[in-house]
């Protein structure tokens, strides 16, 4: 069997068409998931047992099960319930797009909350004491001291999370959507050339990953400008 470089090249434009959906899924899930993560991490560090425990169980469930299984539960499973089909939620949940956004966001929230918790724990205790001694209130210490430092400490792991999610979005090709992987699969079905086509899909993912790495690198420099180099 031969490898046709031309086929890689020819299929690239079509695959790039699927990139739009991949990016939409990535960005929207990240925004929603990260916002949820902030809520979750505040629950985790609240000192209120019920909230801490709820956040812990949530994180355990979403980290502890495959994202594909979660996606299938939401997309195939929820539709079984009449109550859901009758509710306003059905407007969203009958669309694979919103099912995917839901599954990915909930996942991102679980992982990112843990990343942020690590960042918060990494902030020197002495800085809290200095803040207290200066008379800053708890929320002021969190906003002006803990948060900016925790964000810097969390960035490298958060970058990993973004890249993981980028690759995770390929799962939507299994629920009838045409993202990069979905488009590649349809071309393969027509051309019977899985090798070339999936290589071109891989190239597109690598380009996106490179962009994400650059972005995170810039952010790390921005937030870490105070670290001695």
């Amino acid at each position: 069997m031969s490898f046709e470089l031309a086929l890689v090249w020819e299929s690239l434009p079509k695959i790039v068409e699927g990139m739009g959906l991949t990016i939409e899924l990535l960005v929207l899930s990240l925004v929603v998931g990260t916002a949820l993560a902030v809520g979750l991490v505040l629950m985790r560090i609240s000192g209120i047992a019920v909230l801490e425990w709820t956040a812990f169980v949530y994180t355990y469930i979403f980290r502890g099960t495959p994202m594909l299984v979660q996606l299938f539960i939401i997309y195939h499973g929820l539709a079984q319930f009449e109550a859901i089909r009758d509710s306003f939620l059905w407007v969203f949940l009958r669309e694979p797009f919103w099912c995917a956004i839901l599954a990915f966001s909930l996942n991102v929230a679980a992982y990112t909350a843990e990343i942020l918790r690590g960042g918060i724990q990494g902030v020197d205790r002495g800085l809290h004491e200095a803040g207290r001694a200066l008379g800053l209130k708890t929320h002021q210490r969190f906003l002006y001291i803990t948060a900016p430092i925790a964000i810097r400490l969390s960035l490298p792991a958060y970058g990993n999370e973004i890249i993981s999610l980028l690759k995770g979005t390929a799962l939507v090709s299994l629920i009838t959507m045409y993202d990069i992987t979905g488009v590649a699969r349809t071309i393969v079905a027509k051309t019977f050339a899985p090798y070339e086509i999936f290589v071109s899909a891989a190239i597109v993912y690598l380009c996106l990953t490179w962009l994400i790495q650059r972005g995170i690198g810039l952010a790390e420099r921005r937030f870490g400008r105070y670290v001695r180099r």
């Binding site: 020197d124 002495g126 800085l127 004491e129 200095a130 207290r132 001694a133 200066l134 008379g135 800053l136 209130k137 002021q140 002006y144 001291i145 900016p148 430092i149 810097r152 937030f223 400008r225 105070y226 670290v227 001695r228």
Partner: protein, 250 residues
């Protein structure tokens, strides 16, 4: 200045503090007169840091009373806030906010706690950076400063809140020897201006020249307190003599 004159601005009365099973303070009583400088010394683990950390409630005492400028430290948030407005603290590890420049470190609390404008806060901050002789480092981050400079920024940061009392928790212990003097000089200037100070330190030269009262602690108790001349010339307790023998022979 005699050590027993004037009104006390800080009163510790039979203060106790335990960490789990370990009793860090076993009934400590101390009066600090307004404007006096008290140097606290003693072996590590003797409760010196714990004692001063109780004065601004970084540690919560378990028994006895602590009254600062007429305000008793209780669980009342209002009282704690009121005491913290009166008391500044300088730490062994500086504890500067690493993500803020020197001047921003000074501006943060005045802006958030005293709610003054950014412009006023900056002017105030520059004034205090000048007092500790490093206005030219205003826009540097802590990591770009030497240890001595960082500690001076930390002192200025506390002063920006215009406290009546300053607590120093081993302010020179984390410094290289050549930087100790610049910090002690700033502290000496502050003392001359009449600030009430409690300084936990092993710098006995500083104690001799600046202190009104030297307190020796061991095993959670105040073993001895006396004006420096008396304290160094005629220590009454064996434990004090043993301690002084150890730190002064170098």
């Amino acid at each position: 200045m005699p050590a027993d004159s004037g009104e006390p601005i800080i009163v510790l009365d039979q203060v106790t503090k335990s960490f789990g099973g370990f009793q860090a303070l076993k009934g400590v009583s101390l009066n600090v007169v307004r404007g006096h400088k008290v140097v606290v010394c003693g072996p590590s683990g003797s409760g010196k840091s714990t004692m001063i950390r109780c004065i601004n409630r970084l540690e919560e005492h378990n028994g006895g009373r602590i009254v600062v400028d007429g305000i008793e430290l209780t669980a009342s948030i209002k009282n704690i806030d009121a005491v913290r407005r009166e008391v500044g603290m300088v730490f062994q590890q500086f504890n500067l906010f690493p993500h803020l420049t020197a001047v921003e470190n000074l501006m943060l609390a005045p802006r958030l706690v005293r709610k003054i404008s950014k412009k006023e806060a900056r002017a105030l901050a520059m004034q205090y950076l000048e007092r500790v002789h490093i206005p030219e480092q205003a826009d540097k981050y802590p990591a770009q400063l030497s240890g001595g400079q960082q500690q001076r920024v930390a002192i200025a940061r506390s002063l920006c809140m215009k406290p009546q009392i300053m607590l120093f928790d081993e302010p020179t212990s984390a410094l290289d020897p050549e930087m100790i003097k610049e910090v002690l000089d700033v502290m000496g200037e502050l003392a001359q201006e009449g600030m009430t100070m409690i300084v936990v330190t092993h710098e006995m030269g500083f104690a001799r020249s600046v202190a009104d009262l030297v307190v020796f602690m061991d095993k959670g108790e105040i073993v001895e307190q006396a004006p420096p001349a008396e304290f160094f010339a005629r220590p009454r307790s064996d434990r004090t003599r043993a301690f002084l023998g150890q730190i002064l022979k170098h």
